[in-house]
Amino acid sequence: MKKKISVLLVVAMLAMMLASAALADNQMTIAWWGNQTRNERTQAALDLYSEQNAGVTFDPQMNAWSDYWAALATASAGGSLPDVIQMDYQYLSQYVDNNLLVDLTPYMENGTLDMSKVNEGIVGSGSKDGGVYAVCLGVNAPALLYNKTLLDANGITIKDNMTMDEFFAVSKEVYEKTGYKTNIGYGTDNVFNYVLRGLGHSLFTDGQLSATLEDAEYFFGLYEKGIKEGWHVSSAIFAEVTVGSVEQDPMIYGSDPANMSWCAFFWSNQLTAMQNAAPEGVEIGITTWPSADPAASNYLKPSQFFSVSAQGSQQEEAVKVVNFFLNSVECNNILLAERGIPAASDVAEAVAPKLDANNQKVISFINDVVSPNSSAVPAADPTASAEVYALVDEIIESLCYGTISASDAAAYFMDEATAIMNR
């Protein structure tokens, strides 16, 4: 008798596992990368949607940038991509080319998705081969965030569109007056290309490595100079933080100026999250990344998109959610431009008065500083770039550790990067 009961129990357990797996399917999954501020606001916006649309519940999946893409690729292999996917400019074409995203054109035609208030160029940034695969959630630009409170107290002012030499001078001055050091964007992949754009070059062209040995020497020379003059942070701190995490950036994380940076190479929409994560009483300022030629380096970019998975079973409903994020003023009153200035012009206008001082700063930064003084957004990097950027990080660690000179680093970079691209 006991045997029979235990057998039945096991069978019941297996059945329950299958049933729970099937039940979970009724929820709509939505995935994004981000920070604490974004997680809270997005969750609140989703709650509002559930309130207004009875029966729709969400299973939100949030990750840090670095883990997000690994998780997403794995989900795609398992045929279980989230219904709504936060997508990046860098990865869009990979996902479109593999037919993983839904073409939204039919939904635009039948009115489920209203893109009429979105600038055509921005609609285009989410399009490929005549189809629309991604809806821009906001616009941003590369932004140097800095500890304004610290600099103000020491009488140092930052001007927009700094050249490299001006940036060096500030870094040196800050170090001498306060002991705070500088982190030239370790782990922020786009810095390399940004710097090269200032020289009239680019890191990749048509999917191939196009940086020259001189380019690499120039870029790695920045770090060498900083280390030699003492104002660049030591490589030690890179091992202690989660790269790309706002909350753990050495500008706001740490207790000893010798291991902290006065500035951080981030994106304009991250000002809010950085300000929220900063210690009490620290005001964060925003300016452009330094470059030999700021107008050539700088660009505006769709900060992120929402896409709809072709593997999902609730595509119609997913498109409605995307439309909600794009066109609902109520929703954007919760999100408050954390993902960048809303792409729909009427929503941007309606939300503008509600934005706090930080977001006002971001808007004037985008409209008054970057827009009039920028060039076209660079093409998305080739797939192999992930490995090239890992190589760059490794070389920067060695440079800051002092085990390699900038010229050796450049030669090593050219050899290894060429090998990676040819693999």
Binding site: T74, A77, E240, E387, E394
Partner: protein
């Protein structure tokens, strides 16, 4: 089966209850969760990874057969492969013996029966349960940070330490080794049970002959423990080669790949660089290396492991 048994009972169909009550049905059903899991999560993925190792595969698009290309690249043009093998061997060869020595010492101390022995044994076993967790890894990372607990403790005893344990190529690997050694509990339990089985009469005889404590240890305890040491060594070595979580959370291979464990490099290739086919090939190379290493250990067995039958 009862249907085929002659004469004793009339032939009839079994009710569901009777059918379930049979020995072999119960056996199969009760082991099925494991068997299903084993097939789905181990055998199928292994077969797939075997196939992918001969393909260009980036997860997003369909795999493309390339023959031996991945294996050739591993052995001819991958400096990180060599580096990560070196790091992994260093980690396993240092941390496992240290852990075993530590486990043995603690086991010998806990062998004596006092009222609190049970408590101590549980307490020392605890790190084995929690030590592999993500939470402890994050704790470890904070402890060894420049402004972390270790430096603060050093400062409190008068050493002005601002040393970057995780940021230095020489010390970063040691933070991982210390964490591994700290998880000595399961080896300790196995040692404990073996120690208890050593007959007391041997020690009595030794004492009568005037053998000192160290002499007793080296002439009685250690030789009789060699089968246990061997078992622990093989199991822990395999675990050591496959260590992942601690490195992935604490150092991510930094600084400058000085802590790049083989498994973490494999993960990078598979999920960060999207060379999943290449990573599968790396996995199979690792399987061969671990297999060969274990084989060598077994070959050395007859030179140092005490065999009671002999």
């Amino acid at each position: 089966m009862s249907q085929t048994q002659r004469g004793t009972r009339p032939k009839r169909r079994l009710t569901i209850g009777q059918w379930l009550n049979q020995e072999h049905v119960a056996g199969v059903v009760c082991t099925s969760p494991f068997i299903i899991g084993f097939l789905l999560f181990l055998v199928v993925p292994m077969i797939l990874s075997g196939y992918y190792s001969f393909c260009d595969y980036d997860i997003l698009s369909a795999p493309e057969w390339v023959g031996l290309k991945n294996f050739i690249n591993i052995f001819t043009s991958d400096a990180k492969f060599v580096k990560s093998i070196g790091v992994t061997f260093y980690f396993a060869l240092v941390s496992v013996p240290l852990r075993l020595i530590f486990a043995l010492i603690v086991a010998m101390i806990l062998l004596r029966n006092t009222k609190l022995t049970g408590l101590y044994r549980s307490a020392y076993y605890l790190p084995s349960i929690i030590g592999g967790s993500v939470a402890v890894a994050i704790l470890w990372k904070r402890m060894f940070a420049i402004d972390g607990t270790i430096n603060v403790l050093l400062q409190s005893i008068g050493i002005d330490s601002h040393f970057a344990w995780l940021g230095n190529t020489k010390t970063a690997i040691w933070t991982l080794i210390v964490l591994a050694v700290w998880q000595f509990g399961s080896s300790m339990l196995i040692f404990l049970s073996s120690l208890k089985q050593i007959p007391e009469t041997l020690y009595e005889a030794a004492r009568v002959d005037g053998a000192s404590s160290p002499r007793q240890f080296f002439s009685i305890t250690l030789p009789l423990l060699t089968p246990t040491i061997f078992f622990n060594l093989v199991m822990q070595m395999i675990n050591g080669f496959l260590a992942f979580t601690q490195c992935y959370i604490i150092t991510q291979g930094k600084p400058m790949n000085s802590t790049l464990f083989y498994t973490v490099y494999m993960y990078q290739q598979a999920f960060e660089f999207k060379h999943t086919g290449y990573a599968s090939a790396l996995a199979w190379v690792m399987l061969l290396i671990v297999g060969a290493f274990t084989g060598v250990l077994f070959l050395t067995k007859r030179f140092w492991v005490y065999d009671e039958g002999a």
